[in-house]
Subunit: 230 residues, 2 copies
């Protein structure tokens, strides 16, 4: 494909010698052996970033929640289910990480307790579910003493840029990729996306395109900002 | 394949002229535009049943929750997300239905209210989620005056046959297919399954086999019991 040729010509080496860790997909938080809470996320954006970073010469580790996607070539994939597992996998090799891209749609809350057996449907018309906040993976990584260049994602349905700027500051990120998931045809489970890239000083919009092309552009931008930060 | 040949030789016509409706896959119950509660279910068993019933000569309607499976040939598929949508689709053409097979893993409860915008993660360490019971689709169908021959599924993690017998009686089903989802390698998201078929008077075990072969055997048994019931 033309895109392959283009990416091979122009992108090779912008991340050569760098180690990039990417989280992707949703997490599933079990209630019991059959039920869970999750988020809409196909994992396509994270997998496309893994491919684009590899094409740009990086050694890529992909920490992936449950998705229906093939493992990209030359990428080390670590499969996880819950947010706690994703955090453990993210911290396990963090000293070896130059750039951390948190693309996964991590569940904010998990059930307080996981029932060992399937919860029987009782006669109660109403049920209360007790949830506890999950660890904030990207904020945890960004708070490390020798933190990697840390990129977060903000999927919002309104007031997208303001929420993204707030997250950037509050979590101590180097960059945040904001997208408006209320727009049909982009984002979750779609093959296309449109985002705004936010840093402390800059704001760059990337108009709607395929997740694959967007990933190539994002990796270019991340490489540029990473080098400026050194 | 041999199985194709066998099923073409022996199964053709056992359901000829009959209309079979099958529910398959999980339901997703949204909390907000990005979060949902769901069940582990690949939809493979229901889709295999739809194929086997078609091969046996039935006109098949497949009412399917969100799955990653191709639409079987010669099957009418109706795609739904929530339990309420699945109930509506199940009742819409129920007068045209001879045999109703409820294979879907329907969420027992749904959030009381769906937030229009993404719920912001606050500072609260704990969250209470208010759920309300979903309609029981197979029990609703079985309670109709001119009910079809109604087959339910019981996925349990313990005391499987007792729970299945209880459901058969309580919901007024003609047959229930019970499986022990606590066993590794069968059931949810697996390609194989092992079940026990329970009617008011009989109990038949079908040992572990591929979901496709199991579906052929189940459709044979369902056709036999359907004819006995007339």
């Amino acid at each position: 494909e033309i895109l392959d040729a283009v990416s091979n010509c122009f992108d090779t080496g912008t991340l050569a010698g760098l180690r990039v860790h990417i989280t992707a997909g949703p997490t599933q938080e079990p209630l019991d052996p059959v039920r869970y809470i999750s988020n809409h996320s196909s994992g396509k954006m994270g997998y496309a970033l893994a491919q684009a970073a590899t094409d740009a010469g990086a050694a890529v580790t992909l920490i992936s929640g449950p998705v229906n996607l093939a493992q990209p070539d030359h990428v080390k994939r670590i499969s996880v289910t819950t947010a706690q597992e994703m955090l453990s996998a993210s911290l396990a090799n963090i000293d070896d990480c130059d750039i951390f891209i948190a693309c996964a749609a991590v569940a904010d809350y998990r059930p307080t307790a996981i029932a060992e057996h399937k919860i029987k449907k009782g006669n109660e018309e109403i049920m209360e579910l007790h949830l506890v906040k999950n660890p904030d993976i990207v904020a945890t990584v960004a708070s490390l003493e020798n933190k990697p260049f840390t990129v977060g994602f903000a999927a919002e349905t309104r007031d997208v840029i303001n929420y993204a700027r707030g997250k950037l500051a509050k979590k101590g990120l180097d960059m945040i990729v904001a997208n408006d998931v209320s727009q049909a045809g982009i984002g979750f489970n779609s093959d296309e996306n449109a985002v705004t890239l936010v840093t402390a000083n800059q704001q760059t919009s990337i108009p709607q395109t395929s997740k694959r092309q967007l990933a190539v552009q994002l990796i270019e931008q991340i490489a540029k900002h990473y080098k400026t930060s050194k």
